[in-house]
């Protein structure tokens, strides 16, 4: 028969120590770096080194592992460090940071107000994307606050996207006010009509 019963090697499961793993982050081989990053889940003290590694890491699979380990080790400090990547020119890093922050609601929540007030409209859009995904019952009110106060069309559009899913009848008047503010913009008109229909109080 062509089928053979294969035996896999036995592996010892003894964890490597912190300094060995941190040393392995400098390896030229992506598989070695990736393995070290995965094993660093055991060491909360490695968080800063992992954040620093993210900046220089070029291998997509190692980057994915870095984000996973950082989500595992999440803390307000990690969240603030990841939020710095929202202004990166590297789109993969930016979007990886957004996804990771969406998975650490308690760690990022205290920092969201700062991000929502950022001078860069793209950072505010990303902050709204993170906010809209959080599992928290204040989310509709915070999103409504964005459409009442933010002047940028794309930031408001991101908030409408969230409100279409989580908003209740109480946000309809804010949506109607926004329609007047962006009168003549076909997309905003469409987005607001769609959101109100989704909210179900036409």
């Amino acid at each position: 028969m062509a089928l053979v019963k294969g035996k896999l090697p036995e592996c010892d499961g003894a964890p490597r120590d912190l300094s060995t793993l941190l040393g392995a982050l400098a390896s030229p081989e992506s598989a070695v770096r990736r393995n070290a990053v995965r094993d660093l889940k055991l060491y909360p003290d490695s968080a800063e080194a992992l954040c620093a590694q993210l900046q220089d890491e070029t291998s997509p699979s190692v980057r994915a592992a870095l984000f996973s380990t950082l989500i595992h080790l999440q803390s307000p400090h990690v969240a603030v460090r990841l939020a710095e990547f929202l202004r990166s020119d590297d789109v993969q890093l930016r979007n990886g940071a957004i996804e990771a922050l969406q998975e650490m609601p308690d760690a990022i929540a205290p920092h969201l107000q700062v991000l929502l007030g950022d001078a860069d409209s793209d950072v505010r859009i990303f902050a709204v994307n993170i906010l809209a995904s959080l599992r928290h019952d204040q989310v509709p009110e915070w999103l409504a606050e964005v459409i009442r106060t933010d002047a940028h069309v794309n930031v408001c559009a991101a908030a409408i996207d969230g409100l279409a899913e989580v908003g209740g009848p109480e946000v309809v008047k804010d949506l109607e006010a926004l329609r007047l503010r962006f009168a003549g913009d076909a997309f905003m008109d469409f987005a607001i009509t769609t959101a109100i229909r989704r909210i179900g109080s036409e």
Binding site: M1, A2, L3, V4, K5, G6, K7, L8, P9, E10, C11, G13, S30, R34, N35, R38, D39, S59, P60, S61, A64, A65, S68, I71, E103, R135, H136, D137, V139, A164, E165, V166, G168, R197, R198, I199, G200
Partner: protein, 291 residues
């Protein structure tokens, strides 16, 4: 209130409006990648309505709020469970076995050295239908199967179901799609309503107890060429899916493949694999060495 009576359908289950259905479908699609069209509304409505009742929610809106904001994500898992049918039988989702023998294995045969084994991992293997189906498909339908050493590893987290898989006894329903010719070739004659898989097949598959989220237990799985992981990850949360995909990335040899279940989309799990199309089936490939 008059509105209340219109919110209950004729069988006493809460009714769901078109707008609510659309909102639900968008949320569900974002989380799972599963898209329900309008023609599925009756089916989906029934499942949601049952969950509304069982969770004692007051309305769709209440239920959706819980689904959306519940920190544990537990209700979403329960709902996914009730919306997706998960049963196992021989040759289930067999278009993927077509892709295996006509596309994936020939592609692997081109990139591998003769003499090296082709290593397949079925996880979770449940009561064994999947690994045995893989074995039969390869032996029957891949013309190069005699030229290669093919290892099939099969793992599950549940020791009881794994013992069942090892024993290889199956009921009528489970073998319903196996032709009489293959039944007589690979199974012993039926005894007490059960079909027993032949000893050659049984002894050629390596069964093992594995919890995929335990890194120590999965560390032995290296240089795997094909992973079959069907209809498990849909029940995991985002973090569980991502970590399991990273585990598979480690286990697979460069250029190795993952096959997922029909309602599972890699697009909600990981971006480190490349989609590849074999016939009409999309499977996922780990990039080669020079990543």
């Amino acid at each position: 209130m008059n509105a209340v009576s219109s919110m209950i359908d004729t069988e006493g289950l809460p009714a769901i409006t078109a707008a609510e259905y659309a909102k639900f479908c968008e949320f569900f699609y974002r989380k799972t990648g599963i898209q329900y069209q309008v023609n599925k509304k009756y089916y989906v409505d029934r499942r949601i309505a049952e969950r509304i009742q069982q969770t004692k929610s007051e309305s769709f809106r209440d239920y959706f709020t819980m689904l959306r904001f519940e920190a544990s994500g537990e209700e979403l898992q329960v709902l996914i469970n009730s919306l997706t049918v998960n049963e196992t039988y021989f040759f289930r989702e067999d278009y993927q076995f077509d892709a295996l023998v006509t596309g994936i294995l020939p592609a692997l045969a081109k990139q591998k050295r003769r003499g090296d084994p082709i290593r397949i991992w079925s996880v979770p293997c449940s009561s064994g239908e999947e690994p045995y189906s893989i074995a039969i498909n390869i032996l029957e339908r891949w013309d190069q199967s005699d030229s290669w050493n093919i290892e099939i590893h099969a793992s599950d987290i549940d020791s009881k179901i794994l013992a069942q898989a090892r024993a290889g006894r199956f009921c009528e329903r489970s073998v319903g799609r196996v032709s009489p010719q293959l039944l007589s070739k690979y199974f012993k004659p039926k005894i007490a309503g059960e079909y027993q898989i032949c000893d050659e097949l049984r002894s050629s598959i390596e069964f093992s107890l594995v919890n995929v989220v335990d890194p120590v237990q999965t560390r032995r799985y290296r240089d795997i060429d094909i992973v079959f992981c069907r209809n498990m990850l849909i029940y995991f949360d985002d973090a569980g899916r991502r970590e399991t995909m990273e585990m598979f990335y480690e286990c697979l040899a460069p250029g190795g493949f993952i096959c997922l279940g029909h309602s599972e989309s890699m697009s909600r799990m990981s971006s480190t694999f490349l989609p590849r199309k074999f016939k009409d089936v999309i499977v996922y490939q780990k990039p080669g060495e020079q990543e």
